[in-house]
Amino acid sequence: MSEQRSMEEAISQFVESLEEEQKSNKLIESKQKIKNEEEAEKDKEDENYKIEYEEEKEEIVEKIKPIEDIDKIKEFIIKIVSSVTNSEVSEIKYDKENNEIQIYGKDLGIAIGKNGKNMEAIEYIVNLVARRKNILESSVVIDIKGYRRKKYEIIKNLAIRMAKKAVREGRKIVLKPMPSYERKIVHDTLSDNKEVKTKSKNKDPYRRIIIYPNKEN
């Protein structure tokens, strides 16, 4: 039940953000029109936009998909994960805040794969299908047995450690190749660190981060 409520919240948030976007679009439109028109007509125009805007708002609410759709995605994931692992998914939950689907069960290792490769592939296919069916507003993240969370901590710590090393030794540090979401963790972790800067080089799947110490320090 609480999950349903959280989905409802997610949807209402989504509607709000859509409205915001529309509002700003309308604003730009109306500004352009105003430029071409008499000062006297301006107020009337704004009135019209208000009415129009209210009407569109109702339309959006109708377009929003029913909440049960997240269950369809869950079903799809369970089917794939259990087929791949030949094992059972014992728990699957949707974390609205992080837009993440967490999966638990015995013997699911093969669904994660080396460096999370298989999990990435499953996530990619799931998001393709979700987008095709207009189920989710933004890409969902799949995490199996908390792998991604653990990996996040590991990479964050690695980034901090390597940044210190770069500063201490006064030379660039080249990290091993990482997939894009892992590189993002490094960039994000070190973006506030004024002692280093991070850059990526080479092409996926060999793309890797280089941490440079800032010369000024």
Binding site: I80, V84, I110, E120, A121, I122, Y124, I125, L128, V129
Partner: protein, 77 residues
């Protein structure tokens, strides 16, 4: 495994009724899956830079590995 591939592909294409998969054993442990889809769905199963095709292959390979087998997915055009 054929069922899994079929299940995923049917969710991806516009014409699920045209999805056709044939299995061909190669040696003891390898199976080749030949995937046929409607012409206008080819792009959907291949994807940009072959990403979708690769993701499907990774998943099928994982499922095969779990069962001590190997597999090849071929998309027939």
């Amino acid at each position: 495994m054929k069922e899994l591939l079929e299940y995923m592909v049917k969710e991806l294409v516009d014409n699920p009724n045209d999805v056709e998969i044939t299995e061909e054993p190669e040696g003891d442990k390898t199976v080749i899956y030949k995937l046929k889809v409607a012409e206008n769905d080819l792009g959907k199963v291949i994807g940009k830079k072959g990403r979708t095709a690769n993701a499907l292959r990774v998943i099928i390979r994982a499922a095969s590995a779990k069962r001590g087998k190997s597999s090849i997915v071929k998309i027939i055009d």
